[in-house]
Amino acid sequence: MNNSIIKNITRFIGFTLLQVLVLRGVNPGGASFNYISIILYPIVLLLLPLRISKIALLFIGFFLGLVIDGFYETPGVHAATCVAVAFIRPYLLLWLTPRGGYNLSYELVPAHYGYQWFFRYAGIFLFIHLLIYFSLLLFSPLYITQIFIRTIVSFVFSMVFTFIYTRLFL
């Protein structure tokens, strides 16, 4: 139990720093295709323990978002996105219940539920996160095409890095 809290706090700090210090400056598209953002910090929310209460989840999401926003200088955008995905997470998990059901003491990692399950979960989670994020960032239905382009290309890049992280650390 203690171990799990420390792990999650470490992940929180680690991913926040990685996101705001490194990934924020990475722009694989260059100046001509300024649409790709690599967003990895939702993994913090993704891997929170299964038994965490919905209320606590929302607060953690809100706090994480605010911290990221502080560095991105977009007050509220990341926070709103994180709160939204934190709200969706329990329903998403319910929908993706594996055949054997969840074990409350297990972490939500590929080691317990398999890669296929994990990437479905992470994929859907991240896609929703990016879609909401870019919608709030561009903030107008006029930019609907740009919202989708950015979401899709950023999703591909972010998933690649998620995969690398999963192979290395989980």
Binding site: S53, K54, I55, L58, F59, F62, G65, D69, T74, P75, G76, V77, A79, A80, V83, A84, A86, F87, L136, F139, S140
Partner: protein, 273 residues
């Protein structure tokens, strides 16, 4: 109370979600320049439309007052117009001692008849509003009649559709004049002009206007158009049928003309007799 707590336990996270999202939305709109601009523009479109629609509705409800206000304004403007006509006459110095000769009072017809041999209107304004007997009554389309009696709040108008009404009219083109008399039976669309001299020219379609040779009406108010006429051998005058420009059956709002110099003119004319 217990139910309320249960409700909160069950849906508390949803309420919290909504609350946090509202906080975030506030932050986004308050502190992000792009988003704020978009937000302000979009809400302006919505609120603009809403207030427009609301305005349309309230306008509809205010229409009565608005009509009244416009009628009053019209009365003022028409009054000015008549005064201008008077003051532009060459005999200006002798005719008008000060500028204002005609003053118009807007009124609404509160009772009327048009299908009798003698037709009267009742107006919703009376002595209190400055209406006195012998004032002329017109609508925006032409002559209506002359006030005969006025009570505190109402006044009675003897219309041009009355056998005893006689109004001095003239042909707009030739300036020859006659008297407007009602003897066309029961058709309120037509009346006739009598005492129009035979030596004057006349064609169908000529416009008949008030002559100004009375204290009731200023010159040039439209009365109607010559519909047809006879040239009787044994008489000195034409028999003219005039189609009224004013539909007295449907008219609702009228103006009462106050001639501020009526009294003076009368006195001068009486001295002569």
């Amino acid at each position: 109370m217990r139910n309320l707590i249960l409700l909160f336990i069950k849906y508390g996270h949803f309420l919290l979600f909504i609350g946090l999202e509202l906080v975030c939305l506030f932050l986004i709109v308050r502190y992000n320049r792009t988003q704020r601009d978009i937000w302000v523009n979009s809400t302006n479109i919505v609120t603009g439309n809403v207030s427009n629609t609301f305005d349309n509705w309230t306008n509809y409800f205010n229409m009565k007052d608005e009509a009244k206000r416009l009628a009053e304004e019209n009365a003022k403007l028409k009054g000015q117009l008549f005064n201008q006509q008077v003051s532009s006459l060459p005999t200006k110095d002798t005719l008008t001692l000060d500028d204002q000769q005609y003053f118009l009072i807007p009124a609404k017809i509160s009772n009327k008849s048009t299908n009798e041999p003698d037709n009267y209107f009742t107006l919703n304004k009376g002595r209190k509003d400055g209406i006195r007997p012998d004032m002329g009554v017109i609508s925006s389309n032409g002559v209506i009649g002359i006030v005969t009696t006025a009570s505190e709040n109402f006044s009675r108008v003897i219309t041009i559709l009355h056998r005893q009404s006689a109004i001095s009219v003239s042909n707009k083109k030739t300036k020859a004049y006659g008297t407007l008399k009602w003897n066309r039976g029961l058709d309120y669309r037509y009346t006739s002009v009598e005492a129009y001299p035979k030596h004057a020219e006349l064609t169908v379609g000529d416009t008949i206007i008030t002559s100004g040779y009375s204290t009731h009406f200023p010159e040039g108010i439209q009365v109607g158009v010559v519909e047809e006429f006879e040239y009787p051998e044994s008489e000195y005058f034409y028999k003219i049928k005039v189609a009224l420009s004013n539909n007295l059956n449907t008219v609702k709002y009228v103006y009462v003309i106050e001639n501020l110099k009526q009294q003076q003119q009368r006195e001068v004319e009486r001295e002569d007799e």
